[in-house]
């Protein structure tokens, strides 16, 4: 061991501490960088030099590596927690928007309007001959129909918005997956089995963290320091290749409504997203679909059930001519068959057609059978028209799938009653509402034009109120189309369901937020930079550097002294 050796020891110390100081500086510089993982310089003493047998002297210090202080399991759990929190947040926020469309607990909500509408029928029962009260019923019906339509279109707008957002998020997620695959390749190339490329790994962890906000995934080790990303059991990124994420249109066969499905770009396979923003929005889309279905069902049942009662009632005046609102696809098909394609198929039964001589008040009634019992010849739109056409002073014809029933002269008018088949309501004759669901519900144009046609009576007397009473009672009656719930109960169940979901999502979001915070704190505890710690390290390495410099200067003095001896 020579003085040169000592000089060399000083040199290693200078270089090591300089690098350590640089690392500390880098840590301090990144103290506010959330994606940064603090680094620690691992040092080791140099291999000893044997100055005589059995006596070794140190050769200085070396840097073993600059270690990223990361706990992979905490990172994994943090990503899962982030996905849960973001997913629940998204669900809670979007469902709140669904809930706000219902606008319940206000004085202008649908349940209040429904009550107002049915209460006006109840009031009409007090004054069945009053045209003014009829106008109120029609106006309240119009309000209810408008509100249902408006709710439906708001849900449609929400779905469109959600679809657009999903497309945006999917494009973000796709970009992230591509970047992760790219950075995987870079890491493999950079590290080459020699040591960790800390900055690239930090970048990758940052990307993974961003992706975890969008979709749930797990990671597994890939080749040469790369990571594989799996959504459920499906791989999204394998080493340096991303399968890509995109959306596919899913069209509801009943409503024609389009929703976005998450699929892999490479083969169109479905992506099982359960959390993250995409998982949360996908869940909301499902809820939205159910909600829209529920509103359509509610409106459909309201239309059909109310029309069933209304079409068997009579107004202050009869019809001179009335056409069916709902189209029959095949006029020769059995009315209840799929070929007829009526939204509310009629059942076996009959109804009565009354022809009133306006001058004498004499009413001639004829029973019209609607034979749909599955045996013998069944009633079609054409045979029904023929049956009605056979009644004196009445003509019936079918044109483009619609039935028109007309009085033969101005001296008579036509009305209907006792429809046990529901055929009139299902065809849309003499109904109160037109349309089939929340998209097209409206008060029948004929009634709006002539409120006298509004049916309050059931026995044909001008001031009878039995139909009005039956309709008023409809709001609380259990309906087959709504699983034996009443209109109001079915609607309330839907509102309660959404409220419970929103409330659940809010609680889940809060709980997931706490987990996320805990995991973030744990991650920060391991990987976060503490300026106090770094200040101490700074002093330590500074002093070590100063001391090493002193070693060199002392060695130099010693060398000088030796040289002076020459």
């Amino acid at each position: 061991m020579s003085l040169w050796g000592t000089l060399n020891v000083g040199k290693t110390a200078l270089m090591t501490n300089q690098s350590a100081l640089q690392t500390v500086g880098n840590n301090i510089a990144n103290a506010g960088n959330e994606n940064y993982t603090r680094q620690v310089v691992r040092q080791s003493a140099g291999d000893p030099h044997e100055i005589r047998p059995g006596l070794f002297v140190g050769t200085g210090v070396n840097i073993d590596n600059i270690e990223r202080m990361v706990d992979e399991s905490v990172e994994q759990r943090l990503r899962a927690a982030t996905g849960d929190a973001e997913g629940n947040n998204a669900t809670s926020q979007w469902l709140s928007r669904v809930e706000s469309v219902f606008n319940e607990l206000s004085d202008q909500d649908l349940s209040t309007n429904m009550s107002t509408f049915f209460n006006s029928w109840s009031d009409l029962a007090n004054k069945p001959q009053d045209v003014g009260t009829r106008q109120v019923v029609l106006q309240n019906g119009e309000n209810l129909a408008t509100q249902l339509k408006s709710m439906r279109s708001q849900f449609d707008a929400l779905r469109t918005d959600l679809n657009d957002r999903i497309k945006g998020y999917v494009s973000q997620a796709d970009g992230l997956a591509t970047k992760i695959a790219d950075i995987n390749t870079k890491i493999a190339n950079t590290e080459g089995g020699l040591g960790p490329a800390n900055t690239l790994r930090d970048q990758r962890d940052g990307l993974l963290k961003d992706l975890s906000k969008l979709v749930n995934f797990t990671t597994g080790p890939g080749d040469n320091g790369m990571v594989n990303v799996y959504v459920g059991s499906e791989p999204l990124v394998m080493n340096g290749v991303s399968r890509g994420i995109t959306t596919q249109n899913d069209v509801d066969p009943d409503t024609g409504d389009t929703t976005q499905l998450l699929v892999f770009k490479n083969n169109g396979g479905p992506i099982p997203a359960t959390s993250g923003i995409l998982g949360g929005t996908a869940k909301t889309l499902e809820t939205l679909k159910d909600t829209v279905h529920g509103i359509d069902q509610l409106a459909g049942s309201l239309i059909y059930e109310l029309n069933k009662i209304h079409s068997s009632g009579q107004g202050l005046a009869g019809f001179s001519s009335v056409s069916s609102q709902n189209l029959v696809a095949d006029a020769d098909a059995t009315l209840s068959s799929k070929d007829a394609n009526l939204d509310f198929p009629p059942r076996n039964g009959s109804f009565v057609v009354h022809v009133k001589d306006k001058a004498t008040g004499a009413i001639t009634s004829t029973l019209v059978q609607v034979d749909l019992d599955g045996t013998g010849s069944e009633t079609t739109l054409n045979t029904l028209a023929a049956s009605i056409d056979g009644i004196g002073n009445v003509s019936a014809s079918v044109s483009a799938g619609r039935l028109t029933v007309s009085a033969d002269s101005d001296a008579v008018e036509v009305s209907f009653s006792q429809d046990s088949s529901g055929a009139l309501a299902s065809l849309g004759i003499g109904g109160f509402f037109s349309g089939t669901d929340a998209r097209d519900i409206a008060v029948d144009a004929k009634l709006k034009a002539d409120p006298r046609l509004l049916a309050a009576a059931k026995n044909g007397q001008p001031a009878d109120n039995q139909t009005a009473k039956l309709i008023a009672a409809l709001q609380g009656s259990p309906l087959a189309g709504l699983n034996n719930q009443s209109l109001k109960d079915a609607y309330q169940a839907q509102v309660n369901g959404i409220a419970a979901q929103v409330s659940g999502a809010k609680q889940d979001a809060e709980a997931a937020g706490v987990v996320q915070e805990t995991m973030t704190a744990q991650r920060d505890a391991v990987s976060g930079v503490s300026l106090d710690e770094e200040a101490i390290s700074l002093m330590r390495y500074q002093r070590a550097f100063q001391a090493a410099s002193r070693v060199i200067s002392a060695t130099d003095e010693m060398l000088q002294q030796l040289l002076n001896m020459v």
Partner: protein, 642 residues
């Protein structure tokens, strides 16, 4: 507020910053929620604020909204019935006035001029009464029933015609509480007292197209459709009758089940269903799942009657409806269509039924004729009633050359008519000894004692028996076409058949046989017209009696008015009780609403004390968080390094 469960080995600057950020964010979110509660006064802004409480609140709101309808109905009923009450009060006063007029004009000291003057007062009372009968409130005729769009009482042929309806409107005033909110004008003014109730049972025979809804059912509860279980002893099948509409549908479905050789059909009498059985069939037919279709259809057979024995179902009670075919009436026997001869207020109206097919046709022909009568199916759906709609007019219903009236059982005068009901309820004045003496054309005479005879048939029998005993050639019978007694001479003598009174009786006039014989026949007149009695008829009667200076008639009219008065007072009592009940219900509803709204408020409204305390706490918490953040985030070792 959740607290992070943290046990950390080291604290990084990021961790410190993140913790403070999340704490402040959460506190501010909670603060905003409380602030919203305080500013809106609502604890629940949206249902998800508390899904459970919101659901309860929604159901309470539903109850309150439903009660609004009840309240509106109660208000409408109260206003209408109060108006009825006030109208009935006027009617009562008018009736009392007319009674006073009547009693003031009975007695020998009243001159005919005074009575004529009094008649004018009664005439004025009559006019006021008519106006009261057509009293309107908000465009509704109070006494019009379900025909309240038009005046229910119309003057016609010197009488008052009732064109209103006794179908009274009702509405719902509470869960399951339905009540009528009109008074029956017919009852108040006595307009319906002249009904000719059809005595014939017109129950129609069943046909395959008979609607199940037109049947009373074997136990009188209609046909409640369901599933029935049919078995022949070895094979069993459930037959779903729920979508059956007609009897034919039921029979088809049973036959389509194809159980053994069991065949359903309408029984020969047309009253029910028979199940014919093959030799090996032990028929049973039961209801499934608590249904009662088999019971209602009269074919419930829990125990088989034996192998090969048919099941004869019970009668299912077909009712007469406007669509019932006339040919199917009376168990399929049908009816004669010659028509009716209705005389009302001295106007004879023949009503020909030729070409009529349904009951509705029959009713239309009668109701749209000029007879001013109203024909309707009776409440039980077993026959036809005809009522005289014109008070003060006399109605007679006789055959129009056939047997229609007999078939319908609506003849106003026949052999079953009570003697006491003849001559507007005056009957026949009995005297000491025989009342009637009849002489045939051969000069053989006989006396007839009318005392103790109950019906017109008894009178005919008494005449015929007396004739036979006396050996006189006289036959008494009831006219086949026109209503009246007929005395026919069979002696073929040179003289003339004659009927006379004995012992100062008025029997010939009272029996309607006071006209001379023509061609050996004395054709009696109708002495049992159906007169519509009631307030208007009685006032007209009183007015006419006063004009005619007829004291007995004034007394009789006054007695009838007394009956009217009692009836009106009773109806008024009922209306008053109803108004009270409605008012009580309105008060109860208001009380209930106060309690219910309090419940709603508990759920929906902000508890200000609680909210303000929370607001303060959160504010303090936020302040503490921020101060702590300010202190800790500012602290760094760097500050101490030189």
């Amino acid at each position: 507020m959740p607290i992070n469960p943290m046990s950390l080995g080291r604290v990084s600057n990021l961790a410190r910053g993140n913790l403070i950020r999340s704490t402040v964010t959460r506190t501010q979110t909670n603060l905003l929620a409380v602030q919203q509660q305080l500013t809106t006064g609502k604890r629940l802004a949206v249902p998800s604020d508390d899904a459970g409480d919101a659901a309860v609140a929604a159901s309470i709101r539903k109850v309150l909204e439903q009660r609004e309808a009840y309240k509106a109905n109660l208000d409408a009923a109260n206003s209408q019935l109060s108006e009825v009450d006030s109208s009935l009060s006027t009617v009562t006063d008018l009736l009392r006035q007319s009674q006073q007029v009547a009693s003031a004009n009975v007695g020998s000291d009243v001159t005919s001029e005074a009575r004529s003057a009094a008649a004018e007062i009664v005439d004025s009372i009559y006019n006021q009464m008519l106006s009261e009968g057509n009293h309107r409130l908000n465009g509704t005729y109070l006494f019009g029933g379900d025909r309240s769009t038009d005046p229910p009482f119309v003057e016609e042929n010197g009488g008052v015609k009732w064109v209103g309806s006794s179908n009274l409107l009702s509405n719902v005033y509470d869960e399951g509480t339905t009540s009528q909110f009109q008074a029956d004008g017919g009852e108040v003014f006595g307009a319906l007292s002249s009904r000719v109730q059809g005595t014939a049972d017109l129950t129609p025979s069943l046909a395959l197209d008979t609607r199940l809804s037109d049947l009373n059912g074997a136990i009188g509860k209609g046909i409640r459709l369901g599933i029935v279980r049919l078995s022949d002893g070895t094979t069993t099948a459930d037959v779903d009758l729920r979508d059956a509409d007609t009897l034919g549908d039921v029979i088809d479905k049973i036959n389509d089940a194809g159980i053994g050789s069991i065949t359903a059909s309408i029984n020969p009498a047309g009253t029910g269903i028979d199940l014919a059985a093959g030799a090996a069939d032990s028929v049973t037919l039961t209801d499934v799942g608590g249904g009662s279709a088999a019971t209602d259809l009269g074919i419930l057979t829990s125990t088989t009657p034996g192998a090969g024995v048919a099941v004869n179902g019970a009668a299912v009670g077909a009712t007469v409806t406007s669509l019932t075919l006339l040919a199917s009436l009376k168990g399929g026997a049908g009816m004669d269509l010659s028509g009716l001869l209705i005389s009302n207020g001295n106007v004879d109206t023949p009503i020909d039924l030729t070409g009529a097919v349904t009951v509705e046709d029959l009713l239309n022909r009668i109701n749209t004729s000029n007879a001013n009568v109203k024909a309707q199916i009776n409440a039980t759906g077993t026959g036809i009633d005809i009522l005289n709609a014109v008070q003060g007019a006399q109605m007679r219903i006789a055959e129009n050359g056939g047997t229609t009236v007999a078939d319908l059982g609506v003849r106003s005068f026949d052999t079953d008519t009570k003697v006491a009901d003849l001559n507007q309820g005056k009957g026949i004045t009995l005297v000491q000894g025989p009342e009637l003496h009849i002489t045939d054309s051969a000069g053989v005479g006989f006396d007839v004692e009318l005392g103790g005879l109950e019906t017109v048939g008894d009178v005919l029998d008494a005449i015929n028996t007396a004739a036979t005993t006396a050996g006189a050639g006289v036959t008494a019978s009831f006219a086949s076409a026109t209503n009246g007694l007929v005395l026919t001479d069979t002696a073929a003598g040179a003289g003339t058949l004659a009927a006379g009174n004995l012992n100062f009786s008025s029997a010939t006039k009272e029996l309607g046989i006071d006209s001379p014989a023509a061609g050996g026949v004395i054709t009696g007149t109708d002495i049992a017209p159906v007169e519509s009695t009631g307030i208007f008829a009685n006032l007209i009667r009183l007015r006419n009696a006063l004009r005619n200076n007829d004291q007995n008639e004034i007394t009789r009219a006054s007695e009838h008015i007394d009956t009217d008065l009692n009836r009106v007072i009773r109806v008024r009592g009922e209306v008053g009780a109803k108004v009270q009940a409605f008012e009580a219900r309105t008060e109860t509803l208001a009380d209930q609403n106060v309690a219910t709204k309090a419940m709603l408020s508990e759920l929906e409204d902000t508890d200000f004390t609680d909210a303000i305390v929370r607001f303060q706490t959160l504010q303090t918490s936020l302040q503490a968080s921020m101060q702590a953040a300010g202190q800790t985030l500012n602290l760094s070792l760097m500050d101490f390094l030189s």
